[in-house]
């Protein structure tokens, strides 16, 4: 079954992306670990960690594309799922510190010792076990998304109302995790991690391993996303996006389809968060900031909404640009980034992937002169060619 779905959904670009990810998962660690630093092909650890971070962002963007690109749900709160997954991982890493914290308490993390807590709160139980933590990293965002979606989709909250309440959700979580009384470390969050599964978190090998895990997780996420979108269920999702009422009148329980893909997407985001935390070394309430969710939406838009491969490219490119700008133009990088967003929205309405596709089409037309097509389209015409957009919004 799955294979059939896949074969339907695996277009050229997606195959290339999958191959690239798998290749990167193998090659980058090898180039980092096996080659001496002086070797021209050596990939510095710094770059490995940075790319690992980009890949987790890419997974978040992919998750967002699944709901926005294929189901028309513009989530302005996806960073909340990402952060929840991150906190689950962070709690596991915190428990691994053991007596190596500054106060040397064998059970309590430093911030609890400091707040005079006498025992571990119940919701921290079990996080010393990696499988349990991973389960929660998926289950916590999934459950939140399920409950949130259960209510919202049944009440038929749609369009911009849904977007704004997802924003309210992530903002409320930001404030909640920010409170020291919640027991998640307050504004400082969780940090000073020592090791993961017994491996030193600062060693090159662990970093390379985490990078490989991120690349493979992204590849896995892409396969799942392709499988979902290429299946019959995926067709219904697109129908929901393009004409929700009509789909409902045809007898589909729209809210079930939405709820399914919404929950899957949240779990994917949670996994991304869980992989993100050990690589950047800190998780704090700042990850819940509404601005982060908006940025994730922008990655999707830059790469190309509803293309699955696009968001991955978009996330990596925008973040690479951000890393580069903040160092190269520390005083002016916001101009560059802001300008990029405006530019992409105005001139690349289908994102980078859309641009590439139309370039390919143009090439084909040039090769087959017997079917003359129009050479260019204005942004407005391109938009008009996508009736789906309006209904989705």
């Amino acid at each position: 079954m799955t294979l059939r779905f896949l074969s339907g959904g695996l277009t050229g670009g997606r195959i290339v992306m999958l191959a690239l990810l798998v290749a990167a998962a193998i090659l980058v660690p090898v180039l980092n670990l096996a080659l001496p630093e002086s070797h021209p092909l050596h990939v510095p650890t710094y770059a490995v960690t940075l790319m690992g971070k980009y890949l987790t962002y890419a997974l978040l963007a992919l998750a967002l594309d699944l709901v926005w690109g294929y189901c028309g749900i513009l989530s302005l709160g996806h960073a909340a799922f990402f952060a929840l997954g991150g906190y689950a991982m962070g709690m596991y890493l915190m428990r691994q510190i053991g007596t190596r914290g500054v106060y040397g308490d064998p059970v309590l993390p430093d911030f609890m010792v400091f707040l005079n807590w006498q025992e571990l709160p119940w919701y921290w139980y079990g996080f010393d076990a990696f499988p349990f933590a991973m389960l929660i990293a998926l289950a916590a965002p999934g459950l939140l998304a399920f409950i949130f979606g259960w209510f919202a989709f049944r009440s038929r909250v749609t369009g911009v109302y849904l977007s704004i309440i997802t924003q309210a959700m992530t903002y409320a979580l930001l404030l909640a995790f920010f409170r020291n009384d919640m027991g998640f470390g307050g504004n400082n969050g969780l940090t000073d991690f020592k090791d993961i599964l017994g491996f030193d978190i600062q060693s090159d090998a662990t970093r390379a391993g985490l990078f490989a895990a991120s690349a493979l997780a992204l590849a896995g996420g892409l396969v799942i996303a392709v499988a979902i979108t290429a299946s019959k269920l995926g067709k219904v999702l697109i129908a929901v996006r393009d004409a929700e009422s009509r789909t409902r009148f045809l007898g589909y329980r729209v809210e079930h389809y939405k709820l399914f893909v919404w929950t899957v997407s949240a779990m994917m985001a949670g996994l991304a968060g869980a992989l993100y935390v050990p690589q950047v070394g800190i998780i704090n309430p700042g990850e819940f900031a509404p601005a982060n969710s908006i940025e994730a939406v922008i990655w999707v838009a830059v790469g190309g909404r509803g293309t699955l491969v696009g968001p991955i490219i978009g996330a990596v490119l925008v973040n690479f640009a951000k890393s580069w700008f903040t160092a190269a133009l520390p005083e002016f990088w916001l101009f560059a980034l802001g300008g990029l967003f405006v530019f992409v929205t105005l001139f690349l309405p289908k994102g980078i992937v859309g641009l590439a596709k139309s370039a390919v089409q143009r090439l084909r037309r040039m090769r087959e002169p017997q079917t003359p097509g129009r050479e260019t389209k204005t942004p407005r015409e391109m938009a008009a060619a996508r009736p789906s957009e309006q209904a989705a919004e």
Partner: protein, 432 residues
């Protein structure tokens, strides 16, 4: 690494190589000593941190005029961590690993410092942290040139108790680790001085809190219990302006309920009409109004550098001034910028501070400072009303907290420990 090689890879690997080549940038012609500046230039903290970046650039420029360091010029590497805490760690790594800086001056918030700590530890580099902070930390690679709680909070409370006869205390702060710790220390300290539980009110607000009506009204109510009341404010940066505006408008005068703040300096007051706030207090280790030769020179240099003689100076700038000079002196002493050598040589280094005395780097990586209490004046400056007679040694581990009263830090051999437990005689905190 050259561009030719990057072509041989594809896809993500390409991006990786691009990243590293881009960061490496053009090789400088002349060999320099690089100094990293890690302060947010955008986002919520830009308001405070941008000034520190400029101050560092000025200090580096002046040092170069004096002939640089070890015969080489200093070169500042500025990055923007954008008030994004994980980005601080990433940028710190970039500064050390890619740019190869010899020391980093930076961070403001506690969380940004916590975020970069593991990076400095792993890559063995130096961080000079210029802001007053909560203590409870001493790390081998970090030098804390701002005030520890015992260099700010406790003297301020003593002053209010003795000079103003305050018996009732409101501890108001933003809900993060610095106010939490400071308030815990103060609470323990006040109780040790016989202040009853019901005479202490603790209140926490979120970052950037802008509607202070309820809290100001609560403070007024709390202050009407027949005892002299004061507010100890650890409210962070941005939220102070609306807080003081509400305070001024609600008619709470410093004579009735004085507010002593630990995070309000000249820079924060620059956004305020201080007329209604005259007499409210702040505790720092430096005020712009301090009347010394070296301070006048510093202020003139700052005005000349920034090209605006209305710009103020403040305490964290002085901390960078001290920290930078200490680093320069330690590097000269060690004859190298190698971090291990500098870590050894910097302890005991003494440099002039801006208040007319000398500050020394202690074995716990904190420095000695005088404590000044100032009252806000209507020109936006502080007037010193009290100061410690000598220098106060920064205390990494508070004596007033249960978990840390037995801990000390000493980075000299043979102890070389940031959390040595004097009770158990072991390095590694207070646990079993």
């Amino acid at each position: 690494m050259t561009v030719k090689h990057t072509k041989s890879l594809s896809g993500l690997a390409l991006a990786a190589m691009l990243a590293s080549t881009a960061f490496t940038g053009v090789q400088a012609q002349e060999e320099t000593i690089k100094v990293g500046i890690l302060h947010s230039l955008s986002g919520t903290m830009a308001i405070s941190e941008t000034t520190l970046k400029d101050a560092m650039l000025m200090l580096i420029e002046e040092q170069n005029k004096k002939g640089g360091l070890l015969g080489k010029k200093l070169e500042a590497v500025v990055v923007d961590p954008a008030s994004d805490w994980p980005l601080f760690a990433e940028k710190a790594r970039e500064l050390i690993e890619v740019n190869g800086v010899s020391a980093v001056f930076g961070c403001w918030t506690s969380v940004s410092r916590k975020s970069v700590l593991p990076v400095f530890e792993e890559l063995n580099s130096l961080l000079f942290y210029p802001v007053q902070y909560e203590g409870e930390e001493s790390q081998r690679n970090v030098f804390y040139t701002g005030a520890a709680p015992n260099q700010q909070a406790i003297p301020a409370v003593d002053y209010l108790m003795n000079e103003e006869g305050v018996e009732r205390w409101v501890l108001a702060g933003t809900d993060y680790v610095y106010p939490r710790t400071t308030n815990k220390i103060l609470e323990a300290y006040l109780k040790s001085k016989g202040v009853a539980d019901e005479d202490i009110m603790i209140n926490y607000t979120p970052f950037g809190h802008s509607d202070w009506q309820t809290i100001v009204s609560d403070i007024k109510t709390f202050g009407s219990a027949g005892k002299k009341t004061a507010v100890v404010s650890t409210i962070n940066g941005d939220a102070n302006v609306p807080f003081y505006k509400e305070l001024g408008n609600a008619g709470i005068k410093a004579e009735d309920i004085p507010v002593v703040a630990f995070s309000v300096g000249e820079e924060e007051l620059a956004g305020l009409d201080t007329g209604p706030l005259v007499g409210h207090l702040a505790a720092w280790n430096y005020f712009q109004s301090v009347d010394t030769e070296v301070n006048a020179e510093f202020i003139d240099a700052w005005h000349a550098y920034i090209g605006d003689d209305t710009r103020v100076t403040n305490d964290p700038m002085e901390a960078h001034f001290i920290g930078f000079n200490m680093w320069v002196k330690a590097v000269e002493k060690a004859g190298t910028t190698d971090p291990d050598a500098v870590i050894d040589s910097i302890i005991g280094v003494t440099v002039p501070n801006l208040t007319g005395g000398y500050s020394a780097m202690m074995p716990n990586h904190h420095i000695t400072k005088p404590v000044l209490i100032g009252e806000i004046q209507d020109d936006g400056q502080f007037e010193t009303v009290w100061e410690t007679s000598g220098l106060v040694v920064g205390d990494a581990w508070s004596d007033y907290l249960e978990g840390s009263k037995d801990l000390i830090a000493d980075w000299r051999a043979p102890m070389s420990c940031g959390n040595f437990n004097t009770a158990t005689g072991k390095c590694g905190g207070s646990g079993s």
